[in-house]
């Protein structure tokens, strides 16, 4: 599956910001990453996967928090085992969990993080003010971090990751626990960092719209392995049209017929299925097959391929009934998005 969906190498690809070669990480007897070989190109790359896929482990291995059992890792052209401090000086990390330095107000906290990253005290303080303004905490920068709401804590985690002006950002579930408005603002920030300020970032998430809204490329992990990697637009492309379809009649048999004709089907949360036509397939083909099999077409609407389609196909749950309609489906954001 991974090899089928991995984008072919172009003639002169830009140097990847992160490169993993045969990396395996184990926690005791449990393998969190298995022989992962993948490159993260410059720009915004989404790291997708269901819970437990190994996304956070991959980031922690790159940070040097966990030592791989096998394999080689490079960040910004530097070997993780040879130059960990140089790497950490050039990256910013926004952890998934709530994290702060106790007993500090926001500006002191962010300036402190800047100093830890090597900035002189005055520069760190100036950067702290600027970055807090940038992430939308300008008004609250003299408040103790411990009094912050969940959304504010997400923002300050981003601020501390940015204060020393890294070349590469690791964002681990950056919209966790945020309300819809805050989430949208965070995504605008991330998109601005990647596309407006030229920062490279790797966004780990299981929320597909977050990745779709901010990233140009994705790496999909499943059970510690790379299930798909490449540009989102290319991965989404099926070569044919996509339809939402609802039929009345023997649906299971009809799905079997469609698959026998080379038409891929996937059930969704609603009572419609998504139908991926081959390049020469049209709506007329579907109507003809329905008429032949004696089922009524009750709903047929053209659609566009989504990242979720990529994700589900990568995880091998494309066919309805494989593991239930939502098998391997990542979490969707809360209502109101």
């Amino acid at each position: 599956m991974a090899s089928d969906m991995t984008e072919p190498m172009s003639a002169a690809p830009p140097a990847p910001v992160v490169r993993l070669d045969g990396v395996s990480v184990a926690y005791g007897r449990t393998w969190a990453l298995r022989d992962v070989t993948v490159s993260f190109e410059p720009g915004a790359v989404g790291l997708l996967g269901p819970n437990g896929a190994g996304k956070s482990t991959l980031i922690k291995a790159l940070l040097g928090f966990v030592v791989p059992a096998a394999g080689r890792m490079e960040v910004l052209g530097l070997d993780v085992t040879v130059a960990p401090l140089e790497i950490r000086g050039r990256i910013g990390y926004m952890p998934e969990m709530d994290a702060y330095i106790p007993g500090m107000n926001a500006v002191t906290f962010v300036a402190y993080c800047g100093q830890l990253a090597g900035l002189p005290g005055t520069d760190a303080m100036q950067r702290a003010h600027e970055v807090l303004q940038y992430v939308g905490l300008g008004e609250a920068r003299y408040r103790n971090v411990e009094t912050y709401s969940t959304g504010m804590r997400q923002r300050i985690k981003l601020a501390q990751a940015l204060v020393h002006d890294p070349d590469l950002l690791f964002l681990d579930e950056p919209t966790n626990g945020m309300d819809p408005k805050g989430r949208d603002e965070m995504l605008v920030l991330i998109r601005d960092l990647a596309h407006g300020r030229g920062l490279n970032l790797i966004l780990s998430s299981h929320v597909l719209p977050d990745v779709e809204a901010t990233c140009d490329r994705v790496v999909v992990l499943d059970k510690g392995r790379v299930a798909a990697a490449g540009a989102i637009d290319q991965l989404r492309g099926t070569g044919g049209q996509v339809f939402e379809l609802r039929v009345k009649g023997d649906e299971q048999r009809f799905v079997g017929v469609l698959q026998a004709e080379g038409i891929e089907c996937r059930a969704t949360d609603e009572d419609v299925m998504r139908v991926f036509m081959p390049p020469d397939g049209t709506a007329r083909t579907l109507f003809a097959l329905a008429a032949r099999e004696g089922v009524q077409v009750r709903h047929l609407r053209p659609s566009v391929p989504t990242l979720e389609d990529v994700f589900v196909r990568a995880l091998g749950a494309g066919a309805p009934g494989a593991d239930g309609p939502n098998a391997g489906t990542p979490e969707h954001p809360s209502t109101g998005h």
């Binding site: 926690y27 005791g28 007897r29 449990t30 922690k60 940070l63 040097g64 928090f65 966990v66 401090l85 140089e86 950490r88 000086g89 990256i91 910013g92 990390y93 952890p95 969990m97 709530d98 994290a99 702060y100 330095i101 106790p102 007993g103 402190y112 993080c113 100093q115 830890l116 990253a117 090597g118 900035l119 002189p120 520069d123 950067r127 600027e130 970055v131 303004q133 940038y134 992430v135 939308g136 300008g138 501390q160 940015l162 020393h164 002006d165 603002e185 605008v188 920030l189 601005d192 960092l193 407006g196 300020r197």
Partner: protein
């Protein structure tokens, strides 16, 4: 105005070389300590015995009737022993939260995602506690020596007790190093600084109690190495050329202290990590 329009600038300024981050941690920690008024009061009150001793030395130097108060090597040994109560208070109130609070707030992964090593982190935290403990032990003890010279108006006492400066220094640093590492190790074991303080207190008093009970049962003090306070006392006596308190060789006490430091370093190496792995 959208948030991102408020601007984000790239930074092209100077960056400090790696290896200096521990000083940033230490300075921030000390600033945090000095913001706590109660702790500041304790630190100032810890100098009260120094002033009492200074008056004693002044009286002995200037009034013939007070000659019996003249300082000896034991005066400095006793002074360091008396400071033990402040060492305990500072250790509990400053040391207990040094790593425990960071673990509670998941701060370790923030620290270790910056260009600093685990050793830098521990060194920064150790420097906070160690500098405060030296401030209530080594600094006043050395100042007492200076005060003695100043009030006596000559160097006779210092010439007669040349070993006092190194003795004070070695003992204070040994005590501070042992307590700092033990407290940091304990602090790394929990997310609750109060629990760490209680553990440290219990550990200290329980081992003392066991030594007392064993002394009654065995009729001797040869098993005093069980208590690290007793070990420190024994080493202090040896360093200051005084009769030993307990029936055990001082190298045994030294081995126990060094063993505690090694065990503490092992605990710190195990617990100070960017990620907590539960298998």
């Amino acid at each position: 105005m959208a948030i991102h329009d408020q601007g984000y600038r790239r930074y092209g300024g100077h960056r400090e070389p790696h290896g200096t981050a521990w000083t940033v941690i230490a300075m921030a920690g000390l600033r945090a300590v000095f913001r706590r008024r109660a702790l500041l009061a304790v630190l100032l009150f810890a100098w009260a015995p120094f002033f009492v001793r200074a008056v004693q030395i002044y009286a002995a130097a200037n009034f013939p009737q007070a000659k019996f108060l003249a300082p000896t090597a034991d005066t400095f040994r006793q002074f360091l022993q008396q400071q033990g109560i402040f060492v305990f208070v500072v250790s509990v109130f400053v040391g207990a939260g040094l790593i425990a609070n960071d673990r509670r707030a998941n701060a370790l992964q923030l620290y270790l995602s910056k260009p600093l090593t685990r050793a830098d982190y521990v060194a920064g935290k150790a420097a906070i506690l160690a500098s405060l403990l030296l401030f209530v032990t080594w600094v006043p003890a050395l100042l007492l020596l200076v005060v003695q010279m100043a009030f006596a108006g000559n160097l006779t006492f210092l010439r007669d007790h040349l070993y006092l400066f190194p003795a004070v220094t070695v003992f204070a640093f040994l005590e501070v190093t042992m307590i700092t590492f033990a407290m940091l190790a304990l602090s790394s074991l929990s997310r609750n600084s109060r629990f760490v303080g209680i553990m440290y207190t219990a550990f200290l008093f329980f081992s003392q109690a066991i030594v007392a009970v064993l002394a009654v049962v065995t009729g001797g003090t040869s098993l005093s190495w069980i208590s690290f306070s007793a070990d420190l006392t024994q080493i202090g006596d040896a360093i200051f050329h005084l009769p030993l308190h307990y029936d055990m060789p001082w190298p045994v006490a030294l081995l126990m202290v060094l063993g505690l430091m090694a065990a503490s370093c092992g605990v710190l190496a195990w617990r100070v990590r960017g990620v907590e792995v539960v298998t």
